[in-house]
Amino acid sequence: MARSALERYGGFPFLSRLVMAFYDKVLDSDDLAPYFEDIDMRRLIDHQTKFVAFLMGGPASYTNDHLAHVHARLKINRADFDVMVETMRETLADFEVAPADISGIVHELQVRAPWVISASDSKDEPVPA
């Protein structure tokens, strides 16, 4: 069986540094940080750890329904989702992940957009039912 990206880059020690850096970038971003202001740090880290592990073929699994469920409350719009994808791309590049793997991981992220995005681009508009 082919080894997952997570295994190839060193498993948990790699994942922890990556998630930590990603988490810092997200919370330093003016676009993204407001989403997480009221989210408990423990929950946010739990989710990010599992989700990034999942994107890299690690030992977690997310169904689309589950993704929709955990993101519904955040009301994320397309523009901010794109910022998040870019932040992930940057973080992976910072950690010298090979371009092919970055494309793979970013692709995994992008195909999940429909389940993560739950608001239109203007944050003031009501969410379409």
């Binding site: 930590m20 919370l27 940080a33 740090m41 880290i45 739990d46 750890t49």
Partner: protein, 352 residues
Amino acid sequence: MDLDRFNRLLLESAGVGFALADPESLAIRFSNPRFAEWFPDSREPVARLDALLEGLDVDRMRARLDADQGYRTELQLKVNRRQITLDIDIKRHSGDDADLLVVECQNITKLKELEYMVESYSKMVERQNRDLRKEKERVEKLLLNIMPRTIYEEWKEFGVTAPQRFDSAAVLMLDFVSSTEMDIASDPPALVAELNDIFTSFDRIVEQFGGERLKTIGDAYMAVCGVPEPGADDARNIARIALRIVRYLERRNAAQTTQWICRVGINAGPVVGSIIGVQKYVYDIFGPGVGLAARMEALSGPMEITMPQDLYERIRDDVIVSERGAIEIKGFGSKQVYTLEGMTDLDDRHLH
């Protein structure tokens, strides 16, 4: 640079938050810039430690400090949108010059984040392990369906199994008389359902006497006693199994419209047992012990059980038979052949 200036600089630039408070009133007497950054109110003239450190257990702190012990706690607060965790260490400093509480705060957010991450990851891994264990059990169950446990254990440990010779395995071969011409043959799902039901019952009987069902081919059924663990009672057990299988079918036929008429051959003789195949595993046995059982089956009439002399000689005290005389058997020469009617045990005496 003199020492005082050095100390002051250190206090001002340190990453550690540092404050001094009155032990009685808890009023803040001094706070360094880092402390003030985390607790901006500490620079207010009325600032008190218990008001700044939300959730501080003052009674517990006093109890520990009175016992000359330090007090340590963790505190979460929000600084510039970021939730941070501080490790707070409070000690009492009583000297000639002053009596003060010394408060040290360290930012342990990264440690906490890592702790949560480890927790999250280990839960993931535990869950994965649980899933793998379940999957392994499922695979094991499947493999145990196609090979005896001892063979499976050997295969699991060494990756291969050596073919094994059994000098006297007791073999049963059964098939159904003209089942292809039965009415039910035109309704495959019904046929399979009935066969499934019948073979499942056979399996239970075989298991009850310590045997193994080796395989079914179409409507043929093959079971063995003494493979891979030879036992003293294998020959008698194969006879008991054969009788019970016939009795089961007789009862079933009395209650159902479809009549299943079998022929059974039993024998005890040398066989070789081995896992066959690389991609698809089958545990099977070969050899004259099997061949003769098949010949015996072919000699059986409807609902009859046939055995050769060698087997009869070994269990003659326990079985009731009728003699069929000497019959020329292809590949085995002329042999005395017997039809098994029952066992001398009370339980099996009145078979028919």
